[in-house]
């Protein structure tokens, strides 16, 4: 509710409209999601937290168009993915959505820079321009030196950062990330989250699935999910009001 008040007037980049997802049939039916309604607006980083099996990863695959809801609609920039042809869906996934997979999904035969440039090249951008964008993304994550390395020659943490660079390349307006800091040590994980945070501050929308409170804390809004339902959410104060409280601090940020 609070977010709706704060962000009224902006159109959601992602709208999961009252979605359910049921796997299997009859006695074997599993209700992964039981009616979730969630919006992510431009400039907003939303974290989804919940125990394993709560439905948080299902939520992300639906948002990324990698799976379809049983009922309800997934709208990306106002377009319902279910109403689009497969070709159109693939185009949205390439152009608008950056997706960081838990297991990186890098192509072993391509170097880091080629992996990162691939979605742009598939989209018709020239190899040279795509390569230039790939280097920019590598630099943003501080891993320029990995440009010509193959996935097999990289550590898990390095592959993870390449996968994140691939999700950020181009003008992605929606970034979806499933435990993106899993393979990273705490300072590197923090660096990745601050890159994601900066992207959102520059206007992108992002949804992050994590079970680490410290990582979720980079979000504007933390959504708690249990048993396929959103049970609660926590909204951060805006930075401006925090600055005021830090500067004038008679009560201090801890006092409540």
């Amino acid at each position: 509710m609070t977010t709706q008040q704060v962000r009224s007037g902006t159109d959601a980049v992602l709208h999961l409209e009252n979605i359910t997802r049921v796997h299997g049939h009859g006695a074997a039916e599993v209700h992964a999601l039981r009616g979730v309604d969630l919006k992510v607006h431009p400039g907003e980083l939303v974290a989804v937290m919940g125990p394993s099996g709560s439905g948080k990863s299902t939520l992300l695959t639906l948002a990324g168009g990698l799976d379809s809801p049983t009922t309800g609609r997934v709208l990306v920039e106002g377009q319902s993915l279910g109403d689009l042809s497969r070709k159109q869906q693939a185009q949205i996934r390439r152009r608008a959505i950056g997706y960081v997979f838990q297991d990186y999904n890098l192509i072993p035969a391509l170097t880091a820079a080629e992996n990162i440039a691939l979605p742009r090249e598939l989209d018709g951008v020239s190899t040279r321009a795509a390569r230039r964008e790939a280097y920019a993304a590598l630099t943003e994550l501080g891993i320029e030196e990995l440009a010509d390395r193959f996935p097999d020659d990289m550590s898990g943490g390095q592959q993870q950062r390449v996968a994140i660079a691939r999700a950020l390349i181009g003008e992605r307006r929606l970034v979806l990330a499933d435990e993106p800091t899993g393979a990273l040590d705490s300072t590197t994980g923090e660096a990745v989250l601050s890159v994601l945070r900066a992207r959102c501050d520059a206007g992108a929308a992002a949804m992050l699935v994590t079970h680490e409170a410290r990582h979720a804390a980079w979000a504007d809004r933390v959504v708690f999910i249990r048993d396929g339902r959103v049970v609660d959410e926590s909204v951060s104060r805006d930075a401006a009001s925090l600055l005021v409280s830090a500067a004038t601090n008679s009560t201090g940020p801890v006092a409540e």
Partner: protein, 209 residues
């Protein structure tokens, strides 16, 4: 929190007057633990009584300066050399509240846990924003290491609390009271969360630093 040793540490860098001590103390800790001037003067009075500081003249505006004594310096070294005791865990209101919640009939324990988790998560988001700002300031060459460390302590502590709450939720969900005649009785309901409350955050804190 030791205001006493905090003031000694500041005075170790040269004589200062009360208001100045307050300002510097708050600057180091980002005003996380605000001090009032009254507390500063009371503490200075006790330090003087114990021979750890001594008055060091007045300036034109009537500010009374204090300086650290040799004995005060020794006390300060001793403070830095001795670990902060963890053997008597401070009373934790949340642990007490949950220990009571699981034993008092009619309390919605899940709601207590979730209400706290939302509150702590919001605090953690707020601290993280402040940390983001501190890191940006650092990149701009305005680093404030003391403030960053204090902030990160709050972040780690709040994170530990949320992890503990997640754990409590699972523990409570799995809990089945043992039948009276069971050969291996499960721990009684009340002490279980209370005991983990006393141990878990402390163990985490220790392992992180």
């Amino acid at each position: 929190m030791s205001i006493r040793h905090g003031l000694l540490a500041l005075l170790d860098q040269g004589p200062r007057y009360g208001y100045q001590l307050r300002t510097e103390f708050e600057a180091r800790t980002g005003a996380t633990w605000p001090l009032n001037v009254g507390q500063v003067y009371t503490t200075l009075g006790r330090l003087e009584r114990d021979g750890l500081v001594a008055p060091h003249g007045e300036d034109a505006e009537g500010h009374v300066y204090y300086a650290v004594t040799e004995q005060g310096r020794a006390e300060l070294r001793n403070w830095f050399d001795t670990p902060v005791p963890r053997t008597n865990p401070p009373r934790d209101e949340l642990a007490i509240k949950l220990a009571m919640a699981v034993t008092v009939p009619g309390v919605d324990v899940e709601a207590v846990v979730q209400g706290q988790r939302r509150h702590s998560m919001k605090a953690l988001q707020d601290y993280t924003r402040l940390k983001g700002q501190a890191l940006t300031a650092e990149r701009d060459g305005r680093s404030d290491l003391a403030w960053l460390l204090v902030l990160e302590q709050l972040i780690f502590q709040t994170e530990a609390e949320i992890r503990w709450l997640d754990h409590c939720e699972t523990r409570i969900a799995q809990y089945r009271p043992a039948p009276v005649s069971a050969p291996e009785p499960a721990p009684p309901p009340a002490p279980a969360p209370a005991a983990s409350a006393a141990e878990t955050p402390r163990a985490r804190r220790r392992s992180r630093f």
